[in-house]
Subunit: 556 residues, 2 copies
């Protein structure tokens, strides 16, 4: 099948995606529930088997060569190394050379041809959703359901969104035109071509907690616009994205294309290559998810086009509610989900010293603290819900951070181990909840990554809003959650958080959480505060990856 | 009339512009010929009078206050200071404070409301095209026709293009949606808002040669996306853009808006303010046209969104032609137009030592040099065409540069004064033409701004192409002109110059020149080589000026 025919095959997927993107309504090409009816009766069992078979063996599915090097990846659930070896080139120049070669053919395809084969990549990745889920679990510590959703269907939807956005922008202007300028007695007639030219090689630097979800948007945005991609995963979360890359390479090969259009470049334990790659003159585009410090370094590299997601300090503002109990449950879920290791998890919960208006009268700051503690405890210590929601702790530094944080305020809830009968060795921690005052700025103006929640007593809801705004402007924020039944509060929050370039969820109850950002509808990160300079997936996320070159000549 | 009604009034202009932009065909909202039939019988006379009346007086049309300061603007035609005083604030913070205040209302308008009033600004600027033309002549040294076209209709068209591009991008996504996610037995229903939020205050730094054409695209792109603008003109070319700013301020005021939505900030002779403004934390966006050195400084400022046009080394590759004489004429015009002071003027003319295939056999490098010399001399020394095409020299440093350049190669044509009967004191120079060899890289790899043309003898057309590509990749290029009747040469140029991110004009004869870039059709600067990081007007030129903030709450 030609690439043109391939495009026709997948065109309806693209059209649905484009329609959803433009109208921002609910759309999911890849169903989020790991249901046997959708994904096949034995899909989960087969995925688990593929995962178990891969452990302690070479990952030999990539169409890349190199020296076999064992990674340091460790399962937070089993608390043991997963022992996989990956092929590693001794010299990063090898990745660059292979990428440059692949670029020569990839850049010449039409956007339709690229869109077709990239959607086929997603369709092929879909066949591995369950192995990807287990690979994600046992590198990130996400519980199974989140691992499946975030690394599987949600990531694929985000990738499809990037393809659709790229397709839209690459086809907006005509690529050929007859330009006829009347000049009195004569016309000047030029035939013009407008070629969208990709920038070159793109580097996608992954993070340890969402190794696929945060990496594929940049990858697919670069690919649809004609750039080739080198993926540099976090050294502790290689396996999930390696499955994705291998599947893509095989899809390219099956379509007669160079598999090195996308490559994975893994650190040698004695040779960390991220900076070498990032500073390489042939790397033109860098997508990055990770720490603010490294993100600033990436943004400051001269001559690079960068897309960053860094740390932030997210706030929840509790003013008033008509459903106190459901609010507590929603909030408890949001801070517990993946043990607070999400970039969208609330950290600073701001409550006025005047208390919270509820359907049962005013709840004081102290009452709220105790009620919230009970809600979090109830969730995390529930033998079924606890491990399923909290998952495990990805990095041991997070455990140290929890210990150190204990002295930062009045302890409302001591962190405890979460019992996990399936994985008795799992590295876990329920949230540490501290109470502090709005004067303790030095405490709450830092990102305390992991299950650490600060209840901050403020002088008023206005002061809560001011703090949320200031934190977002100074330190970045990716989410904001507000409970209020007063329209003047809602309007004030909108006005202030707009200035802080932070999206806000209001009055969430039931099975929808501030942590969640839906592809085709919610923009993830605004790009307007220090938490990052880019957004999944607005027009800039693709238009910065190419430029137009024009050719014109007289009509012959 | 409400702003909404204003939008309806101008909607058809916007729709025509959008249609042209998308389809890249010929479109001009503002006719380029200064014809009395179009612009009014006495428009030119009135414009000249307005100009003469303004000389040596305070420019009192701005809706800005400040200390009156005389500028150093000097007419290259009269060789004397034009003696205009402008209002200057002692402290740049005053401009920032006024801009911040204006931003509070401007950002809240809808894109339709902003589009309406901005198009009205253009319609009002149009009434001053002739005064603008004389102001441009007597600051830049452009001859009348170019002054009229570049600063009048062509600039207005470029501004309209930016409005249209902004309108397109700001309305692409819906701003409100009902998001209904089916979750088995229940639906989650959120009402979502997506607000395009402007970045803040935008700084537009102008250049001395095209004080309006190069400045208005960034201004209008920032304004349509909701940012306020401070224009910092070049100290030697204030008057033309001051007319534009004054007219805009009056249009804003007439529509009940804050005139400080756009301001002009002029250097005090003892206090150059460009860097102070550029580094100010409240300046979020910077548009810049000027030297490469200053452009690099602008691009390196942390946390700023920058759009730059810097210097470049433009090439013409002469391989073969079917119309040798017309080629010479076209090329002679392009190097003479505004005495080579255009960013699109060819500097390096590359000819193989094997000569040029023509309809009358091979012309050797030496023959071409002599024939080209004759064509340039014929044009420049023609008493009518010479002054009308070459204009005058804007900056005395350019005269020094011509003198110094004489020792760089074999002189083919000595620069001469161009006789100008209307302005006998005009500072003029016909082009200096030098012959050098491809080995003299140190000579031709620098931008020699002004009427300095290098004829470079190369070993082959392939070598000519390689040099054009290398210059563009290393030093930037904004144009490239190629004469060839061989499709393999044309294909090779396309492939190589695409890699160098440089647009190419092929085989131009008659009244169309490589120097010209038409609004709504030709992208000006690609943004892909060192000549600049932005393009008039692609999607990135507007999308980088705002970001989306989302609000969501359950359907009540």
């Amino acid at each position: 099948m030609s690439l043109k025919e391939k495009f026709e095959q997948y065109k309806s997927i693209l059209e649905n995606a484009l329609n959803a993107l433009k109208n921002r309504y609910f759309f999911a090409q890849y169903p989020e529930m790991p249901s046997p009816a959708v994904y096949g009766e034995d899909a989960q069992q087969k995925g688990l088997q593929a995962f178990e078979n891969q452990l302690n063996k070479p990952f030999d599915r990539l169409l890349q060569s190199g020296e076999w090097v064992a990674s340091a990846e460790k399962s937070p659930f089993r608390n043991e190394n997963i022992g996989i070896q990956y092929p590693v080139h001794k010299d990063v120049q090898t990745y660059i050379d292979l990428s440059k070669k692949a670029f020569q053919t990839w850049k010449k395809l039409t956007v339709e041809e690229r869109a077709g084969v990239l959607i086929e990549c997603l369709e092929n990745i879909k066949k591995h959703f369950f192995e990807i889920a287990y690979a994600t679990m046992h590198t990130t510590g996400q519980a199974f359901m989140m691992s499946f959703q975030a690394s599987g269907p949600h990531a694929n939807d985000r990738a499809l969104e990037a393809i659709a956005m790229g397709y839209q922008e690459l086809t907006y202007f005509v690529h050929n035109t007859s330009w006829i300028k009347p000049m009195g007695k004569v016309n000047v007639h030029l035939e013009k071509e407008f070629i969208p030219v990709p920038k070159g090689i793109s580097l996608a630097i992954g993070c340890s907690t969402f190794p696929i979800w945060n990496t594929v948007p940049g990858m697919f945005a670069s690919l649809i616009t004609g750039n080739t991609v080198i993926v540099k995963p976090h050294p502790l979360a290689i396996y999930p994205i390696a499955i994705v890359v291998a599947e893509m390479q095989r899809t390219f090969q099956a379509n007669g294309l160079d598999p090195h259009i996308v490559q994975i470049a893994i650190d040698h334990p004695n040779n960390l290559i991220t900076k070498t790659l990032a500073e390489h003159p042939d790397i033109k585009i860098i997508d990055f998810t990770g720490s603010s410090e490294f993100g600033h370094y990436i943004e400051s590299l001269p001559g690079k086009i960068t897309f960053t997601e860094k740390a932030g300090v997210n706030s929840a503002i509790i003013d008033s509610t008509n459903n106190y109990k459901e609010m507590l449950n929603n909030l408890a879920f949001s801070v517990s989900l993946y043990s607070g290791q999400m970039c969208t998890a609330p950290q600073n919960i701001l409550v006025s010293e005047k208390g919270i208006e509820t359907e049962n009268g005013i709840k004081s700051f102290e009452e709220f603290a105790q009620d919230f503690k009970a809600a979090v405890e109830g969730l995390c210590q529930n033998p079924k819900a606890g491990p399923a929601i909290c998952g495990a702790i990805q990095n041991e530094n997070t455990l140290k951070r929890i210990e150190e944080a204990k002295k930062l305020g009045k302890i409302i809830l001591e962190p405890r181990k979460i019992q996990n009968t399936e994985f008795p060795n799992a590295v876990t921690s329920s949230p540490l909840i501290l109470a502090i005052n709005e004067k303790d700025k030095s405490v709450y103006e830092k990102e305390l990554f992991g299950p650490i929640v600060l209840l901050i007593q403020t002088s008023s809801t206005d002061s809560s809003i001011a703090i949320a705004k200031e934190m977002a402007q100074k330190h970045g924020a990716i989410s904001c959650l507000v409970y209020s039944k007063h329209s003047h509060v809602i309007e004030k929050v909108k006005e202030d958080m707009m200035e802080a370039a932070t999206s806000v969820s209001f009055n969430l109850y039931g099975p929808i959480y501030v942590n969640q950002n839906a592809a085709f509808s919610d923009f993830h990160v605004t790009g307007g505060n220090p938490a990052g300079n880019a957004s999944f997936t607005d027009a800039s996320f693709v238009t910065k990856r190419f430029h137009y070159v024009g050719f014109r000549q007289p009509k012959s």
